[in-house]
């Protein structure tokens, strides 16, 4: 299976190529540079693997939550490739991607992922790993005040993401606020989504903003 995944939801910009179990990734922390970086990254990865976009089996992207503009860049780019190559898309939660990375890197099995949503709010979701090593959503993702979040009592939770640099950080001992969603962590979630049939066509590859009150 050949999958291309991108994420431009936060300050980080990343692209990962999955070919039959192997993952290659390009990633940079580059605020406001996503439009300059994302397609060159994808092009470079495919060229190194001697592939074109038309030979991919599917696509995945960080569908949010995150910066509205960043989400639309990812969604727009993926819609274009998916439509032109006529391949399906797995939209993946950026919070789940953060949790998945925490599992891959430190074997954290219970993760509270949070992204700074500005305006004194965070995007928040909790994840528990399943027997296949895939992070599953434990409750609904939401945007809320850090103060309103209750740390679950069932076991050892680990926090990850920029949301923990807000007041939320007062609520948990162990967290890493310096992590951003990455395309490489989207890959295992996307592979699972493809296996389970949770894929959509180009026009349904849409952002999930969570914050829907914008006027």
């Amino acid at each position: 299976m050949k999958l291309l995944a991108i994420d431009t939801a936060t300050e980080a910009c990343s692209c990962a190529l999955f070919i039959d179990g192997e993952i290659q990734q390009r990633s940079e922390i580059a605020p406001r540079q996503h439009t300059n970086l994302i397609l060159p990254m994808a092009d470079e990865l495919l060229k190194a693997a001697d592939l074109t976009a038309n030979q991919l089996d599917g696509l995945a992207f960080g569908r949010g939550p995150g910066s509205f503009t960043g989400l639309r860049i990812a969604s727009g780019v993926i819609q274009g490739i998916a439509f032109a190559a006529d391949i399906p898309v797995a939209p993946i939660s950026c919070l789940a991607a953060l949790a998945q990375a925490a599992y891959i890197q430190n074997s954290s099995e219970k993760v509270l992922a949070a992204i700074d949503a500005r305006m004194d709010e965070v995007y928040f979701g909790s994840y528990i790993v399943d027997q296949q090593g895939i992070m599953r959503s434990h409750d609904e993702e939401r945007v809320c005040k850090p103060e309103s979040i209750k740390i679950p009592e069932n076991g050892q939770w680990y926090g990850v993401g920029s949301g923990w640099a807000t007041k939320l950080g007062e609520k948990l001992e162990s967290y890493d606020a310096d992590k951003y969603p990455q395309a490489a962590a989207i890959i295992p979630l996307a592979v699972t989504a493809f296996k389970e049939g949770n894929v959509v066509s180009a026009e349904q590859a849409l952002p999930v903003y969570l914050r829907n009150k914008v006027t």
Binding site: T69, G76, I81
Partner: protein
């Protein structure tokens, strides 16, 4: 050569296919006007969110209608406009081109408007004088050839279309009220009020329309009878003043440049009384786009993109949208 054109710079999602041999093959437009009406103006974040939902289905539609299996380039409006809205068309357009392995072409929105009359069977030839009148711009431009544009004058404050919309709002005509105001003016008495023709007493080709709406407001407030006829009479006086000002400035620009052809484009160019006034008062060949191509549309972007393609212009993989972008050196 066949070019797909994408326009998402403001509140309309436009897509078209233009073929350099066969002409315009298909075009479609989705207007978000109802979405923004309740806010009395375009809400940029809502505009962006809507473009990302509508664009691919519209692309699918025009490709099917034009029986296009393969395009030779993808053109998209790269600016100027609302940055978030532009980015949707740019991201989708650039990645379509990358996947299809064809050139991507970033088009200047104003260039699209200026060239829109060339989509018609009776198309103007270069060089020409262009009056661009829309909700965002009022500019007089000397078009020597493709890519050779020189600005001669522009509005120092409100654009003509903006003045129409703001005046309509003052008269309680809702949003966007420009077309409703023009409709109302048809029933107005042209001799009841006489509004000033701003900046016509001074030399030069610049415009200023913001004073006119203040004039409308003070005139309206002074009326004892604020009835429907008064509203129509004021609308008429306002519209006459705007059109007359545009005519005076164009006449001056024609004299200055000695150009023999005038192109009038942009949303306000759809105004019927503007067209009849210009045709009556200026003894020169005047070209207008058909009314649906006066407002934002994908056809003009596909066409302008085709010209850029023929002139070997294309974009790198790093893509960009420009909120501001000068077309002039």
């Amino acid at each position: 050569m066949r070019v797909l054109g994408i326009e998402t710079s403001c509140d309309e999602t436009g897509v078209a296919v233009y073929d350099t041999e066969q002409g315009l093959l298909a075009h479609t437009l989705y207007s978000q006007v109802d979405l923004h009406a309740q806010y009395g103006g375009v809400v940029p974040e809502l505009a962006s969110r809507d473009h990302v939902r509508k664009l691919i289905p519209l692309i699918k539609q025009v490709l099917a209608e034009s029986e296009t299996n393969k395009v030779d380039a993808v053109a998209y409006t790269a600016g100027p406009g609302l940055i978030g809205a532009l980015l949707v068309g740019v991201s989708v357009g650039r990645s379509l081109a990358w996947t299809w392995q064809v050139p991507a072409i970033g088009v200047h929105h104003i260039e699209g408007h200026l060239l829109a009359p060339m989509l018609e069977e009776a198309a103007p030839n270069f060089p020409f004088l262009a009056l661009l009148v829309s909700g965002g711009h009022t500019q007089l431009i000397e078009v020597a050839a493709w890519g050779k544009y020189k600005i001669l004058g522009e509005s120092l404050d409100d654009a003509a279309g903006e003045a129409f919309d703001k005046t309509a709002k003052l008269l309680g005509l809702g949003y966007p009220g420009g077309p409703a105001l023009a409709e109302l003016a048809l029933r107005g008495n042209p001799n009841r009020f006489d509004f000033p023709r701003p900046m016509t007493q001074r030399p030069g080709l610049d415009f200023s329309f913001s004073g006119l709406k203040t004039h409308v407001l003070t005139t309206w407030n002074k009326q004892e009878q604020q009835d429907e006829q008064t509203r129509a009479d004021i609308a008429r006086a306002f519209e006459d003043a705007v059109i007359d000002t545009l005519v005076i400035k164009c006449r001056r620009a024609i004299k200055q440049t000695k150009l023999k052809t005038l192109v009038i484009a942009g949303g306000v160019a759809a105004n019927k009384r503007l067209r009849s006034s210009f045709n009556e008062k200026l003894n020169i060949n005047i070209y207008y786009p058909r009314p649906i191509f006066c407002t934002d549309n994908g056809a003009m972007i596909a066409y302008a993109g085709a010209l850029r393609l023929l002139n070997n212009q294309s974009e790198a993989l790093a893509f960009k949208a420009y909120a501001r972008w000068s077309m002039f050196d």
